[in-house]
């Protein structure tokens, strides 16, 4: 086995035993990255930083003072501000932007000794489900259909994170999830993606998309790795006013593998019309696995599920239109070249027309519309009321004693790049149908690889937990992962 294929848990143990060094591990990842240009997962490599951090990690490891993430090479989604390193949210409007500060999450990871290999591709401002809205061009899924060379999407918005982790270019990656942007790419690439409870991980220094929905989390090759990495990312941050001042439990220690007597809810509303038979089968297989592990399976109802997507596509754009107002060509990033006589309004309008891609423009304008005088109540306020009802649905089932909810992660396996180019934007939005409720209700969710479809592509199941119960949720995910026994890797073609 090559070093870059290790899990975080394996690498941690070998590093602590000094059987491998952080520098060798980092070099193995950098070699894999160099050979994986076709995946377009990494968009800014930071080899000098990586080697300096790896050397420092080796010193700490030698001194016996090594947190779990010490010496672990990671990819960082381009949405995270990293000091002195390009951080442009895959947008032309932030071309050339090098933050003067470090996001809380990357700062915590680096303090724990983690190594940054570079910045990862994503959809522009995290708006997309296929990584095709990126200013860097799309990332590519390392998985292909059996006997078919069609290039597939790694999902989005954290497409680069998923592609890099699945292709063994790094041991783990940071990602963010506003409507499914960690869990859907994880499902498309046979990896594990965790979206923590809203407030568990600081949003400070992460380029904002929709502030009441955004949450960062890890994307890794196993549930245990996710638990280890989330541990280093989580915790209270006074600089994020919505960050929760709650103790962070030991997530890895919670992976006992014992879920006997736990109640798993199966929401009937997630059995969507026209759901592919393979997804249906995967889901019932997953239910069987949880039952075999001793869990109690309970049919539940989340009656407002069908309204989650329209609510999301009001609230997400509304918040985005406000957050993205800051890109005005004055303080950072791109500024349009002005014509003689142009004033400050032309500066804004031309800069934003040139800097934002079509999907971002569309969402900013939808958001502007639903917040505008005369429509605020009809759209935005109504959506916020329905959001209350969606959250109440979950509160009701948790109050009845449900410990976790099992659903499919996505309505399909990874689709071909370009396949949705002519589709109505709403069709792309349907990718989020199983994941978006979790963001609206602020809950933790995890996508676990659970099988392959008949074309040989990975499929994921989603577990949804009670607020702040990532520990219990990850234990359920750990049981599902073990029972599903998913060990496939994409055959290397790149």
């Amino acid at each position: 086995m090559t070093l870059n294929s290790l899990t975080i848990a394996e690498a941690r143990d070998l590093l602590r035993k000094r059987e491998i060094t952080a520098v060798d591990l980092t070099m193995a990842c950098m070699t894999a990255m160099d050979a994986a240009g076709e995946l377009n997962a990494f968009v800014h490599a930071t080899p000098e930083i990586a080697l300096a951090q790896a050397r420092a990690a080796d010193t700490r490891l030698a001194a016996g003072d090594a947190p779990a993430m010490c010496g672990i090479p990671l990819g960082i989604k381009d949405l995270f501000c990293t000091k002195g390193v390009p951080s442009q949210a895959a947008s032309n409007i932030l071309r050339g932007f090098r933050p003067e500060y470090e996001s809380t999450v990357t700062g915590k990871l680096f303090d724990a000794g983690a190594v940054m290999l570079g910045k990862l591709n994503m959809d522009e401002f995290a708006m997309g489900s296929s990584n095709e809205t990126s200013c860097y061009g799309n990332a590519v899924n390392p998985w292909r259909r059996d006997g078919d060379e069609t290039r597939l999407t790694p999902g989005g918005s954290s497409g680069g994170s998923a592609s890099a982790v699945a292709a063994d270019l790094c041991l783990g990656a940071t990602a963010t999830d506003t409507g499914g942007s960690i869990r859907q790419p994880a499902a498309f690439t046979g990896t594990v993606g965790i979206k923590p409870t809203y407030g568990r991980v600081s949003r400070w220094g992460i380029v904002a998309f929709a502030s009441s929905l955004d949450q960062a989390g890890p994307l890794t090759r196993s549930v245990r790795d996710g638990a280890i990495m989330l541990q280093a990312m989580a915790g209270h941050d006074p600089r994020d006013s919505t960050s929760a001042d709650l103790p962070v439990p030991d997530f890895e220690a919670a992976l006992t593998g014992d879920i006997r007597g736990r109640k798993i809810g199966i929401p009937r509303e997630y059995r969507m019309e026209g759901m592919p038979a393979e997804i249906e089968r995967l889901w019932s297989d997953g239910i069987g696995m949880m039952r075999d592990a001793g869990a109690v399976i309970v049919d539940i109802s989340l009656p407002h599920t069908k309204y989650a997507l329209p609510v999301y596509y009001v609230i997400g754009p509304a918040e985005a239109s406000s957050n993205l107002a800051r890109y005005d060509g004055v303080r950072y990033g791109h500024r349009a070249v002005l014509a003689q006589g142009d004033g400050v309004t032309e500066l804004y309008e031309k800069t934003r027309a040139e800097g934002f891609g079509p999907e971002v423009q569309r969402r900013v304008m939808i958001g502007t519309y639903v917040l505008s005088a005369g429509f605020y109540d009809a759209y935005y306020n109504r959506a916020r009321k329905v959001r209350s009802l969606i959250k109440r649905d979950f509160e009701a089932v948790f109050a009845e004693g449900i410990d976790a909810i099992l659903t499919p992660a996505t309505p399909s396996a990874a689709f071909g790049l370009g396949e949705m180019a002519d589709a109505d934007p709403v069709r792309m939005y349907l990718n989020d149908v199983f994941t978006v409720t979790v963001n609206l209700a602020g809950l933790p969710g995890v996508s676990v690889p659970a099988g392959l479809d008949r074309q040989g592509l990975p499929l994921g199941l989603q577990l949804i937990g009670r607020p702040w119960d990532e520990a219990g949720l990850l234990n359920h995910a750990h049981v599902l992962e073990r029972a599903a026994g998913f060990v496939s890797k994409p055959a290397k073609w790149w």
Partner: protein, 95 residues
Amino acid sequence: MAIDTETARMVARLARIRVEEDALPALAGELSGILDFMEQLNEVDVEGVEPMVSVTPMRLARREDVVTDGDIQDSILKNAPDAREGFFAVPKVVE
């Protein structure tokens, strides 16, 4: 609800995004499609339901009203497309 070209022009202006005249009809069509999708929300009975304003019930934290940062003018201007004499520079705003 259908958005006409005139409304699309108004929205683009409010969003401060320049949209060329010949691109407005297509934009209006796309925005209308998305709004149609949102119309489903009208089926829901929201009588007496409070809009959700905070994801987790929590009191916003307060801190002492003191200076916590400062003297970083160079850092603030570092990424500006046009900074002069310690200020952000923009086209003339007043005549």
